[in-house]
C-alpha cells in the first residue's frame, strides 16, 4: 500500500509504467498457457493454490504414467516377458490409499484458508451493487464510508465491438482496441470506476436470468441471481483497467456483456463519484414527484 502511494505521489512516470504492466496482466495474451496471478491478495492466493494443485497433479502423473511406460517397455510379450500371477498386495494397497489422503490434506488446508478469507465481506469501506441484465451490467454506488450515494449507470459492450461482432460484419476484430490493448468484446461504454487500496464490497444480483460477474484479475466470480443477493469483496492496490466477462450462460448475447473495472486512486475516485452524484441529483430533481405518482397508481 505504501509502495503504491509512493509511486503515485513521487514517481508519476513509473506509476504509469506500473499501470501498463498491470494492464498487461489484466488482459489475456495470445498463446497464453496459464492462469495469471491477478492484482489482489485473493487472486494471488488463488493462483498459488492453482499452481500447487497443478504441481501435485504433475508429480502424481509422472509417477503413474512413468510406471505405465516402464511396464509397456519392459513387460512386452514380444520381448519374451512372462506374466506373473499375483493379483493383490495388501501393504501396497494400504500405502496408495493413505498417501493420497495426505496429499489431499496438503491441498485442502491452504484452500480452506483462502475460502474463509474470500467469504469475509465485512468491514468494507464502500459498497457497490451489481445487477446483471440481459445483456448488460447495472452498477449502483450504495455508500462510501457512512455517506450514501445514488449513482447508477448501465455498462454495455462498447459500440465498436458491437458493430464488429454482428454476423459477417466485415469488420476486423483485431482492430478493436482500447488504450492500445486488443479489447474486442472486452470493452464497455461505461466502466465500473473504483478506488484503490479500499475494501470494496460488491453485492451481486440478477434482474432477469442468472448471470455471473467475473473479473479474473480480481479473483472474483459471483453468480448474479434474480431474487438472491450474493456478495464478494476486493482490495485493489494497483491502479489500472481490469477486464472480465459474464460467466453464466444468460441467453443469446451472453458472450457480449463484458465487464471493465477501472481502478483509480481514492482522491480521483472521490472527485469522479461526487460529479456523478451531482449529475444524478440534477437528473432526479425534476422527476422527484414521479415515484410518488407511481406509488399512488
Amino acid at each position: 500500500m505504501k509502495w503504491a502511494g509512493l509511486l503515485r505521489s513521487k514517481l508519476g512516470l513509473l506509476a504509469a509504467l506500473a499501470a501498463c504492466a498491470n494492464v498487461a496482466q489484466a488482459v489475456p495474451e495470445r498463446w497464453q498457457l496459464n492462469m495469471t496471478p491477478g492484482v489482489t491478495r485473493v487472486s494471488h492466493d488463488i493462483y498459488q493454490i492453482h499452481m500447487w494443485g497443478l504441481y501435485v497433479c504433475c508429480a502424481i502423473g509422472i509417477v503413474v504414467f512413468g510406471a505405465m511406460i516402464i511396464a509397456m517397455i519392459r513387460f512386452r510379450k514380444s520381448k519374451g516377458a512372462v506374466a506373473a500371477t499375483w493379483s493383490h498386495n495388501t501393504k501396497v494397497e494400504i500405502v496408495w490409499t493413505v498417501v493420497p489422503i495426505l496429499i489431499l490434506v496438503s491441498l485442502a488446508y491452504p484452500a480452506t484458508r483462502v475460502v474463509i478469507d474470500m467469504a469475509y465481506t465485512e468491514q468494507s469501506q464502500m459498497t457497490v451493487k451489481i445487477t446483471g441484465y440481459q445483456w448488460k451490467w447495472g452498477y449502483d454506488y450504495i455508500n462510501v464510508g457512512d455517506k450514501p450515494y445514488h449513482v447508477h449507470f448501465i455498462s454495455r459492450l462498447d459500440p465498436l465491438s458491437d458493430k464488429t461482432r454482428q454476423l459477417r460484419s466485415g469488420l476486423d476484430p483485431w482492430k478493436v482496441e482500447d488504450n492500445g490493448e486488443p479489447a474486442y468484446l472486452l470493452n464497455v461504454d461505461h466502466p465500473l470506476v473504483v478506488p484503490t487500496d479500499t475494501k470494496i464490497r460488491f453485492v451481486v444480483t440478477g434482474d432477469d436470468v442468472i448471470h455471473a460477474w467475473w473479473v479474473p484479475a480480481l479473483g472474483i466470480k459471483q453468480d448474479a441471481i434474480p431474487g438472491i443477493i450474493n456478495d464478494a469483496w476486493t482490495v485493489i492496490h494497483d491502479p489500472g483497467i481490469y477486464r472480465g466477462q459474464c460467466a453464466e450462460l444468460c441467453g443469446q448475447d451472453h458472450g457480449f456483456m463484458p465487464i471493465v473495472v477501472k481502478a483509480v486512486p481514492m482522491t480521483e475516485f472521490q472527485k469522479w463519484l461526487d460529479e456523478q452524484e451531482a449529475a444524478a441529483t440534477r437528473a432526479n430533481a425534476p422527476a422527484a414527484p414521479a415515484p410518488a405518482a407511481a406509488g399512488a397508481g
Binding site: 489475456p28 497464453q32 493420497p100 489431499l104 483485431w174 459471483q222 466477462q245 451472453h254
Partner: protein, 543 residues
C-alpha cells in the same frame, strides 16, 4: 454341455424372419444390444455434427457462420445428444450384449421391457430434435432449446415451445434409462448361473450393477426437476421463479443431485470395460479385484453427496463450500485406487498391444488427466477462476471423450469378434487409434489453456487473444470428425472380409463369454453353464 446347446442353436437359431419381426419386435438381448449400439453411433454422428458447427464458428474471432442464438442451440443439443443419445445408450447396448453372456444367463430378465426401453429412444430424440429440424427445413418455430443442457431457470423457460419438446424428450429418456436399469439389476441378481457368486462376477457386470442403482436413484429426480420447469413455464407455478416466491438456485441443487451421479453413470461402466481389457492383454489377473468392487461402490456413494461442487459460485454458505470441497476431494482416493490397480495389473505382465488394449491404456492415461483437472476444480478458491470457463470444458471432455467414449470404442474392438465371428483389420484399427489419439488431444488439450487465460464457455465469439488456441482446437475437431467414418469402415470391412474369429478370440481372454462360439449364437446358455474358476476374468477370487 454349453457348447452342445450352442451348436444346436447355431443350426436352427429361430431368428425371427423379416426386418420388422427381427428388429422392431425383438426381445433378444443381442439384437437389442445391437440396436442400442447402432442408435448410439448415429446419435454420436449427429452430436459430432453439432460440435462441428460450434468449432467452425469458434475457429476465428468474429461471427462468420451462425447467429449467437443458433450457436446456443448447438451447444445445448450437442450435450443432450452426446450424453443421453450416444454415451448412455452405448453402455446400455454393451450391457445388453455382454451381461447375460458374462453371467451365464439365457437373456435379460425382462425381455419385452428391454424392447420397450430401446424403442422409446428414437421417439425421445425425434421430440428433442424436431424443433431444430422444423426450423431448418421449414423456417418455422424458434428452433431448438438453447438454454444449455443444464436447463437452468429462469433462462431455460425463456425459450419457445422447444422447451416443452425437450422436457418431454428428457422424460422419455428417463423412462428408458430407468427400465433399462431395472432390467439390468433383475438380470444380474436373478439370472446368474449357479456358482457365479456376486464376488465372482466380472467387473463390467459389477460396475453396471452399481450404475443401474445410480440410474434408478437419480433419473426420477431429473424428471421431477424438469416437470417443475414445465409447470413454471406453462401452468403459472413458481418453483424456480423468484418473483413468485420460488428459488432459481433450488433447481441447480436438484439438477446436480441428478447430474453428479449422472457423471458416474457415464464412467463406471467404462471402469468395468477397462478392467476386462487390461488383464486380457497383460495376460495377468486383474490386480485387487475386491478393492475394485469396493472402490466402485465408494465412488457411487460419494457421487450422491458432492453435487454442490458444480455450484461453488452461486453464493453457498462458507460451511457448504468447505463441505463440498472436502467430499469431492475424497473421490480422488477410490479413483486413485482404480488407476493404481490397472497399472499394477500391467506390471510384470506379458503385454501385447492389440487395438482394445491401446484404447484401454489411452483411457487410463487420459482419464487420469481428466481426473487431475477434476481435483483442481474441487479446490474452491481455484474453482472460482475455473468455473464456467473452457478449463471445465476441457475437463469434462477428457473424462467423457477420452474416458467414456474411448472405453466404448475399446469394448467394441474387444467384443466385436464375439459378436460377429470376424476379426477386424489390426493395422487399420491402429491407424484409427493413433489418428484419434493425436487429434483428440489437439482438440481438447488447448482448451485448458483457453480456460486458464479467461475464456468463458458457451460463447460464440471471443477476444482476439484467444484466437490461436481456438484455431488449434478447431483443427483437432476436424481431425476427430473423420474418426466415426474410419471406425464404421473398419467394422464394415471386418463384416465383409474379416478373418474368422475363434471362440476365445484373444489368447488370454477369460470369462464365460469366451466359452461360447464366435459369433455368439442367437440363444446362449439356455442351460446354465458350469462355472470353472479358471474361466473367470480374474484369477484368485478369494482376494
Amino acid at each position: 454341455m454349453t457348447t452342445h446347446v450352442a451348436h444346436s442353436d447355431a443350426h436352427h437359431d429361430d431368428k425371427p424372419h423379416g426386418f420388422f419381426n427381427r428388429w422392431v419386435c425383438s426381445t433378444n438381448h443381442k439384437d437389442i444390444g445391437t440396436l442400442y449400439l447402432v442408435f448410439a453411433f448415429i446419435m454420436a454422428c449427429v452430436g459430432a455434427l453439432f460440435s462441428g458447427v460450434i468449432r467452425t464458428e469458434l475457429a476465428q474471432p468474429g461471427l462468420q457462420f451462425v447467429q449467437p442464438y443458433f450457436f446456443n442451440q448447438m451447444t445445448t443439443l450437442h450435450a443432450l445428444v452426446m450424453i443421453f443419445g450416444a454415451i448412455m445408450p452405448a453402455f446400455v447396448g454393451l450391457a445388453n450384449w455382454m451381461v447375460p453372456l458374462m453371467i451365464g444367463a439365457p437373456d435379460m430378465a425382462l425381455p419385452r421391457m428391454n424392447n420397450w426401453s430401446f424403442w422409446i429412444l428414437p421417439f425421445a430424440f425425434t421430440l428433442l430434435l424436431w424443433p431444430l429440424v422444423q426450423y431448418l427445413l421449414f423456417g418455422t418455430g424458434g428452433g431448438a432449446i438453447a438454454g444449455g443442457w443444464t436447463l437452468y431457470p429462469p433462462l431455460a423457460i425463456q425459450g419457445g415451445d422447444a422447451v416443452a419438446f425437450s422436457i418431454f424428450a428428457v422424460h422419455l429418456m428417463g423412462i428408458s434409462s430407468i427400465m433399462g436399469a431395472i432390467n439390468i439389476i433383475a438380470t444380474i441378481l436373478n439370472l446368474r448361473a449357479p456358482g457365479m457368486d456376486l464376488l465372482k462376477m466380472p467387473l463390467f457386470v459389477w460396475t453396471w450393477l452399481i450404475t443401474a442403482f445410480l440410474l434408478i436413484a437419480v433419473m426420477p429426480v431429473l424428471a421431477g426437476a424438469v416437470t417443475m420447469l414445465l409447470t413454471d413455464k406453462y401452468f403459472g407455478t413458481s418453483f424456480f421463479n423468484a418473483a413468485g416466491g420460488g428459488d432459481p438456485v433450488m433447481f441447480q441443487h436438484i439438477f446436480w443431485f441428478f447430474g453428479h451421479p449422472e457423471v458416474y453413470i457415464m464412467i463406471l461402466p467404462a471402469f468395468g470395460i477397462v478392467s476386462e481389457i487390461i488383464p486380457t492383454f497383460s495376460r495377468k489377473p486383474l490386480f485387487g479385484y475386491q478393492a475394485m468392487v469396493y472402490a466402485t461402490a465408494s465412488i457411487a456413494f460419494l457421487s450422491f453427496i458432492v453435487w454442490g461442487h458444480h455450484m461453488f459460485t452461486v453464493g453457498m454458505p462458507l460451511g457448504g463450500e468447505l463441505y463440498f470441497m472436502y467430499a469431492t476431494m475424497l473421490i480422488a482416493v477410490p479413483t486413485g485406487v482404480k488407476v493404481f490397480n490397472w497399472v499394477s495389473t500391467m506390471w510384470r505382465g506379458s503385454l501385447s498391444f492389440e487395438a482394445p488394449m491401446l484404447w484401454a491404456i489411452a483411457f487410463v492415461i487420459l482419464f487420469t488427466i481428466g481426473g487431475f483437472s477434476g481435483l483442481m476444480l474441487a479446490l474452491v478458491p481455484a474453482d472460482f477462476q475455473y468455473q464456467d470457463t473452457y478449463f471445465v470444458v476441457a475437463h469434462f471432455h477428457y473424462v467423457l471423450v477420452t474416458g467414456a467414449l474411448f472405453s466404448i470404442i475399446g469394448a467394441i474392438y474387444y467384443w466385436w469378434p464375439k459378436w460377429t465371428g470376424r476379426m477386424y483389420n489390426e493395422t487399420w484399427a491402429k491407424v484409427h487409434f493413433w489418428w484419434t489419439m493425436v487429434f483428440v488431444n489437439v482438440l481438447f488439450f488447448p482448451q485448458h489453456f483457453l480456460g486458464l487465460a479467461g475464456m468463458p464457455r458457451r460463447i460464440p465469439d471471443y477476444n482476439v487473444a484467444f484466437a490461436d488456441w481456438n484455431l488449434v482446437s478447431t483443427i483437432g475437431a476436424y481431425g476427430m470428425f473423420l474418426t466415426p467414418f474410419m471406425f464404421a469402415f473398419i467394422l464394415w470391412h471386418s463384416l465383409k472380409k474379416g478373418a474368422k474369429a475363434e471362440a476365445r478370440a484373444w489368447e488370454a481372454a477369460h470369462g464365460l463369454e469366451w466359452t461360447v462360439p464366435s459369433p455368439a449364437p442367437f440363444h446362449t446358455f439356455a442351460t446354465p453353464p458350469a462355472i470353472h474358476d479358471e474361466d473367470l476374468a480374474h484369477g484368485d477370487v478369494t482376494h
